[in-house]
Symmetry: none
Subunit: 259 residues, 2 copies
DNA sequence: AAACTAATGTTAAAATAATAACATTTTAGG
DNA sequence: CCTAAAATGTTATTATTTTAACATTAGTTT
């Protein structure tokens, strides 16, 4: 025998699937019971982790929706320089106009670019990471090229010799390149040697090369060298960077955008 | 000139992307403004249909959320033969043991295979579609190879000459191949010509070739021919298939698994 | 810099939601 | 059919959120 309550629990979940979140009163009205009954039901569902409750509403937990991004993102709201990265990403996206082509390098900053791209534009986008791919695949009007290869779980990057060959066949108006270290004396570096060939090829295939990096990356050196700062046409960062870099950009006619 | 308010509006949307829904107070605290400022901002966003407001919180409308996982799946619970496909997918996944290698073809049935793979196993997986990739990327112990290339939005498939080359470098114990038509006289067919090269190469690179297809695909022909039924070592389907195929499998020592 | 305007902040009152205690109804067992 | 227990409903209280009116601050113009 199935109890009335069990039936209601399922009905509540069904309702939530269709309109998430819902209020206690709405559920009470729909199921024709008092708000306290709904509260008691919801309490059970919450203990079983089947719903999440907050003041004013009930909703399905992330895991029961498509929303469990955490698996596919490097962009963590609690991470350092998160706000700066978001601003940098937005600034980069705003450089583009309809019908532009771009190459998106790896990293969390470039993920914010992907999130900020205008869905109304018909862009041509090349990218290399699962997090970027998931974001750009939503852009219905844009053409997506994903060179692919072997998966590196920590960076969510795919890379291969053949992927490089696909990249070499393509050209882009813009390349948005990330870095984990930028130094005036030792150049621009990243953390993983497998990134090097891709990054170098990105630079060779694009017209306007834009370095995107928050200020924590400056005067920092990582293991793998892939470019000099003067190889870039523009730099988007936040205003925490040392003055020496401002001067260097001025002297080398690198467009400096601080957000 | 971009106003402070416009900046905040974007920030609010960014925050919502990462934690949906959010309360007015949370936003006020994060953005370091008063709750009234947030309210006035949210009012604007609501008028522009960019957020939805309810007593106790603000959230992104469905279309702007990660919740629309429909973007990344071919497996629609309301589609025909859905239950059969799920059972076929599970049966296929159960053929595997730890440390096995496999190639996952395109389609909704193979998506169910991806969903059914054992996360405890250390598998080596090659796949070609975004929907499969999103599922297998969760398998933390498995190695993922994604040949990549040009994106076809309707099938979520990526394909390219270079992708084929990556595939040729790899071998797998199992290939799970899908089809949109199976006929004794006209062979095994799919709907898109761009799938052909990939499918043929999958067959060449794998030891045990398993055709996965629900019974609605039998005695059906589609535009692109890529294999004969006897090229397969096993067939997983439901028991709605015509007897002629049962006989054919027996005569050609194709292992027939019905679920 | 003064005056004006727009934006933001403060506060208190009103509306809504959550909680708790108790009343009523329903259900199951004898 | 009666009783006890469980489930549900009612009501009052408390907590939270929303609204609205007004005060303050920041930005612009002259």
């Amino acid at each position: 025998m199935i109890s009335k309550q069990e039936e209601r629990l399922e009905k509540i979940l069904s309702i939530l699937k269709l309109s998430n979140p819902a209020t206690v009163n709405k559920l009470a009205q729909l199921l024709d019971v008092s708000h306290m009954t709904i509260r008691r039901d919801v309490e059970i569902l919450e203990k079983e982790k089947r719903v999440e409750v907050f003041h004013g509403g009930i909703m399905l937990p992330d895991s029961h929706r498509g929303e469990n991004w955490k698996e596919y993102t490097l962009a963590d709201a609690t991470s350092i320089m998160c706000e700066e990265k978001k601003r940098i990403g937005l600034k980069a996206a705003l450089m583009l106009k309809d019908n532009d082509s771009l190459i998106l390098d790896t990293g969390s900053t470039t993920e914010y670019i992907a999130q900020s791209l205008n869905p109304q534009y018909s862009l041509s986008i090349v990218c290399f990471t699962l997090n970027a791919l998931i974001n750009v695949s939503k852009l219905k009007k844009s053409k997506i090229i994903f060179p692919g290869g072997y998966f590196h779980r920590n960076t969510l990057m795919f890379e291969s010799e053949e992927g490089i060959n696909i990249l070499k066949k393509n050209r882009a108006a813009f390349a948005f390149v990330s870095a984990s270290g930028i130094s005036l004396s030792l150049g621009v570096t990243c953390s993983n040697s497998y990134e090097r060939e891709t990054k170098k090829t990105i630079m060779e295939s694009s017209m306007k090369k834009v370095l995107v990096a928050d200020s924590s990356k400056f005067d920092v050196v990582h293991s793998t060298y892939f470019a000099e700062l003067q190889d870039f046409d523009a730099l988007i960062t936040d205003d925490g960077i040392p003055d020496s870099y401002r001067l260097f950009c001025k002297n080398n006619s690198i467009e400096l955008l601080t957000v």
